[in-house]
Amino acid sequence: MSRTLSISIFRHNPRDPASAPRMETHELAEAPGMTLFIALNRLRESVAPDLSFDFVCRAGVCGSCAMVINGRPGLACRTLTAALPERISLHPLPGFALIADLSVDTGTWMRELAERLETWVHLAAEPDLDLLEAPLSPGLAEEIHELDRCIECGCCIAACGTAQMRPGFVGAVGLNKIARFRLDPADSRDDADHYELIGNDQGIFGCMSLMGCEDLCPKELPLQAQLAWLRRGMARQGLRGIFDKKDKK
């Protein structure tokens, strides 16, 4: 124990014309059980009072604190410094608008995604709340929950070469949501509707299976399996469209 950490932090305030992006390195005595949440707060309390970063739950469930830690996106709050080398570099998550330093605007990005992909249950009819709920198979409920566990941290976007190259790409976060609603019997949309949303190069056909999302998702969502499942479904839907058109003629 008793290492001295050397933490290099990306610093820049895009609203300040005098600010230029730079790396600022601080030394910090490591403490037992220290996470990046603790380390960054110590730096803010001592040497860097204006350092911007985002933590909310500090327990790895809210997705606020995603940043690039030694090159790879991850949740800072649950990253123990003990798991890192002495030299640590921290960058803001790429692919999102920079607010300042390590703080990025994932919220606006995710809201736009939700509007674009309509990531809510499309009800066939308003439920009658006095009646028993509609039954759902226990296994299917667990499968839906498995995909519903996404915390919109943005790591999959930062981990995805495609999303880094092509900012319009909906990424694993968007595709996983469609997979989630496709699985959910409460949602009245069918594959023709899904194809409209993601049957293009900004959607499922833009995915090049680089697997950054699968490998770096902090929640370990089964993204490869979901993306493949969607691709098969959407390819089938694309073919079906062509044959349907011929049938109509």
Partner: protein, 657 residues
């Protein structure tokens, strides 16, 4: 200066704020949500174990209904709650769960047939009914007579928040993220909206609104170690307090959760114990049955937390590098159960402790968790003293929880209160909207006042260090306004906090940025947090009894004779002013009684016996009339509900009756 207009301004984007906004929006109103963070990052997301609703689908929940849920809630509150509100709540909870199910919350479901479970340390076989297959299941939680807590693994708050967050998008409700309400605009009698600071640009603006709803959650971060998110600094309650008109209720009622991990203070759900986990001491001994033979680990939270502290005082805690702690043992549940039903717990243990809870014990200790106190409202969620100001969820003292909240009742409250208050807010705007005169000039005056206050912080030299003051506040609250309280400690706390509040006025900032400046934010928020800390400590000092989570070692009895009342506080020029509001025994459906923990230590209210006789007489007179008729005679509430929510809740076995 930007001054905007909206029908309803909701401050806070967690479960309560979102559901309230959705309700008002569906009534055709223009609604805007302000949130410190993206709505889906709100602290609601951290609720793990579940939401109480008396569906009665699982075999261990069969026979459950609103009456049982009501009684558990009132007992849990140590008779400190508003029983009318508890009635409205327990009636609404099943509707809330079913609505969320329709909106996509993938509640875990009942699986027909037999499966093994662990109850009170014993392996038992439970056989679920065929007709319940696929309906929403429930797990056991503390202080309840039935398995009533609906859940999605241990990510319940997350799935609920995402369902509502996405529903708000579906309803096109704008959410101003990274915006903080820094003052309520009011004319002494009516709230007209809020001054808003953009936390990115630092600019001030104002929203004028016919109704303003505060749903900003609790104030746990006035404590040093808390399970709360770090944004739970109570600023919503503080700006209400600072109006001098609105009152906060029961601020001394602070809950400590038995099982937060050591040292990080991160919650591991009550579901761990509900699913069969046990607490062990330094010798590996399961000690809770020694104290509470009947409920053991599943006694009410306040009771378990106190018993744990008591046991540590007897030298049975585990002492190591960090704070003293006990063990939570869920190894008996098996890896398969933990992977499916307690995976967040597994992840938290893995990332923060480096252990596998399927094989190793989890170090835990009681930690600040929930704020029963908040902005005092009537059953409609409106402040009785500042019209047009509403509050719901943890930010409010709607008073569902009294002095101790049952596990699973908080997320349930957020959504239920959101559903109800959304309707009442819409009624308010419909009934009074045209008569409400919103004043842009007033809004500009408030903006100017706040701007001046912020400029003053930036202008002054940094005589005091904000972090040092904050740490002193946290330590004071933890040590002297914690699980056990007494006169001397509380008096010292009040003195210390008063001094800190004076010093907080001299906090400066080293950097003078107006935008995205964490130093400025802390310098501005800290005096507000100190005011909350001070009113909590003073309220605790004044309350010379022990009730629920408020445990005075020098006054161990629950004193219904003198203290069956709610603490109300307002902030005036000379500091906090306390008043008390009686909790009417004459109106109680369930008159004060013994909760069944430890030994009976109650100083009776003079009206208790009479009301007990009265309720029993009414029950006898209505024998055979059915539970609804009895209930309606004892505490009528149906007429107070919005019409759309008055229907009777269907249950298995009751269908068609």
């Amino acid at each position: 200066m930007k001054v905007g207009h909206t029908d309803v301004l909701v401050i806070g984007g967690g479960l309560a704020g979102l559901r309230c906004a959705i309700g008002a929006r569906r009534r055709g109103l223009e609604v805007r949500i302000l949130s410190l963070v993206p709505a889906k990052r709100s602290h609601s997301v951290a609720a793990q174990g579940g939401m109480q609703a008396s569906l009665g689908n699982t075999v261990r929940g069969a026979g459950d209904n609103e009456d049982l849920h009501f009684e558990d809630t009132v007992r849990g509150s140590d008779w400190g709650c508003d029983q009318l509100v508890a009635r409205m709540f327990t009636h609404m909870a099943p509707k809330a769960v079913r609505e969320l199910a329709a909106w996509g919350v993938p509640w875990n479901r009942v699986e027909r047939g037999s499966a093994e479970a662990i109850i009170n340390g014993q392996r038992v076989i439970l056989t679920e009914r065929d007709e319940a297959h696929g309906l929403i299941t429930a797990r056991d939680f503390g202080g309840t007579r039935k398995w009533r807590t609906c859940y999605t693994s241990d990510g319940t708050g997350h799935t609920m928040l995402y369902a509502l967050g996405d529903r708000a998008v579906a309803e096109s409700i704008p959410v101003d993220e990274r915006c903080e309400a820094i003052a309520l605009i009011h004319d002494g009698g009516r709230c007209q909206g809020a001054v808003v600071r953009d936390l990115v640009s630092g600019e001030l603006s104002a929203w004028l609104a016919s109704a303003t709803v505060i749903a900003t959650g609790g104030y746990g971060r006035i404590y040093g170690v808390s399970t709360n998110a770090i944004i739970n600094e109570g600023i919503g309650a503080a700006i209400a307090l600072e109006t001098g008109v609105a009152r906060l209720g029961n601020m001394e009622a602070v809950q400590f959760h038995p099982t937060a991990i050591v040292p990080a203070g991160i919650l591991v759900t009550e579901g761990c114990r509900g699913d069969g986990g046990v607490l062990r001491d330094v010798d590996g001994h399961r000690f809770m049955p020694d104290y509470e033979p009947e409920k053991a680990e599943l006694a009410s939270r306040d009771v378990v937390s106190r018993r744990m502290a008591e046991h540590m005082r007897r030298g049975k805690g585990v002492k190591g590098d960090g704070p003293e702690h006990l063990w939570l043992d869920i190894t008996g549940l098996g890896a398969a159960h933990i992977d499916r039903k307690l995976r967040e717990v597994r992840d938290i243990c893995h990332h923060f402790l480096g252990i596998d809870p399927a094989r190793e014990w989890i170090p835990v200790r009681p930690t600040q968790h929930y704020s029963m106190g908040g902005i005092r409202t009537d059953h409609r969620g409106e402040s009785p003293t500042l019209r047009g100001l509403f509050a719901c969820g943890e930010a409010a003292c709607w008073d569902l929880h009294g002095f101790n909240r049952l596990g699973g009742n908080s997320v349930a409250e957020t959504v239920v209160a959101g559903m109800l208050v959304g309707e009442y807010v819409a009624d308010h705007v419909r009934d009074e909207g045209s008569a409400i005169r919103l004043s842009p000039a007033l809004a500009r005056a408030f903006i100017a006042r706040e701007q001046a206050a912020l400029e003053a912080i930036l202008a002054r030299p940094a005589e005091e260090d904000a972090h040092a003051i904050r740490r002193a506040m946290e330590a004071t609250m933890t040590e002297q306004v914690g699980l056990f309280r007494d006169e001397a400690g509380l008096a010292t706390a009040v003195e210390t906090l008063t001094g800190l509040l004076a010093r907080a006025g001299r906090i400066g900032t080293r950097n003078k940025r107006r935008d995205a400046n964490p130093e400025l934010v802390l310098a501005w928020r800290l005096p507000k947090m100190l005011k909350l800390a001070l009113v909590a400590a003073e309220g605790a000092l004044a309350r010379r009894e022990s009730r629920g989570a408020h445990c005075r070692e020098d006054y161990p009895a629950r004193n219904d004779r003198d203290w069956l009342k709610r603490t109300l506080v307002s902030w005036q020029a000379d500091g906090p002013h306390f008043e008390y509001e009686p909790i009417e025994v004459e109106a109680m459906e369930l008159p004060p009684g013994f909760r069944g923990y430890g030994t009976r230590n109650i100083i009776e209210h003079p009206g208790t016996a009479a009301r007990l006789g009265d309720t029993e007489a009414q029950r006898a007179a209505l024998a055979g009339a059915g539970r609804d008729a009895v209930q309606a005679a004892l505490l009528p509430f149906e007429a107070l509900l919005p019409e759309r929510y008055r229907g009777r809740n269907a249950r298995l076995g009751e269908v068609g009756q």
